[in-house]
Amino acid sequence: MDLGLEVEERDGFAVLSVRGEVDVYTAPRFRERLIELVTEGKHRIIVDLEGVDFLDSTGLGVLVGGLKRLRSHDGDLLLVCTQTRILKVFEITGLTKVFSIYDSVDAAVAGGSGGETSP
């Protein structure tokens, strides 16, 4: 099973675009990539979930772990997601209140620079 993980720089943010299914099998690669970015000194990260077809609690765990790690570096992890079925997983677990979730990478860049604006 393929998991796409692409990184791009955008106005001081590292944008990590995830494609495919994030589950117990693929999550370790996702976690490693995030940790790598933090190790490289990228402390402001946007994770773009628009290409994700499936995300389970293991995937949520990776994101929570990433956020925690970044906050300890005074950084932040912002999410981009508009897919109802993915948003639903954040809602059920109450994580919409923990993450700032944006409609687009542009909105995240603007929101993340201008302060914490959860839509």
Binding site: D23, Y25, F54, S57, R71, T84
Partner: protein
């Protein structure tokens, strides 16, 4: 644990037995969503919900085998009940007591971020209409019920 519970005719049960390894959880999702999709009484959104619940249950089953050092396979059984699609995920791990799981701190509590795990069972409970855990020291069986008219627990 090999009793299908409300399964009616054993001949009507679809069984998938997978090695207890992470790479096979996707196969369980694929089978359950194909079966759910052929059940015209379940809306697409509910199929996604069942797929996620099954994925969480299989992940736990595989982790339980891993913890117990079990080489046995994990069994996923599906059947159409009168008014529902039922899926049962059975493992041979060491079992657990679902009533003893810790509650999460409220989301406003900064401690919430300590919880990278423990989200699977709350998700399962929220996604399906009914969930039943039967667990002994020799294994766990998680029965998930998705009713035709239902809309989550």
């Amino acid at each position: 644990m090999n009793d299908a519970g409300g399964a009616g005719e054993a001949a009507e049960v679809i069984e998938l037995e997978i090695p207890a390894r992470a790479e096979f959880v996707a196969l369980a999702r694929l089978v359950v969503s194909a079966l759910a999709a052929s059940d015209s009484s379940l809306a697409d959104e509910r199929i996604d919900d069942l797929k996620l619940a099954v994925s969480e249950a299989c992940t736990n089953a595989i982790e339980a085998h891993d913890a117990a050092g079990s080489e046995e396979r994990v069994l996923v059984r599906c059947w159409a009940a009168d008014d529902a699609l039922e899926v049962c995920v059975e493992d041979r791990g060491e079992g657990f007591d679902p009533a003893q799981l810790p509650d999460h701190p409220p989301v406003t509590d900064p401690d919430r971020l300590k919880f990278e795990r423990g989200l699977g069972i709350p998700l399962i409970r929220a996604l399906v209409d009914e969930v039943e855990f039967s667990s002994t020291g020799h294994g766990t069986s998680v029965r998930l019920v998705m009713r035709h008219g239902g809309n989550g627990a």
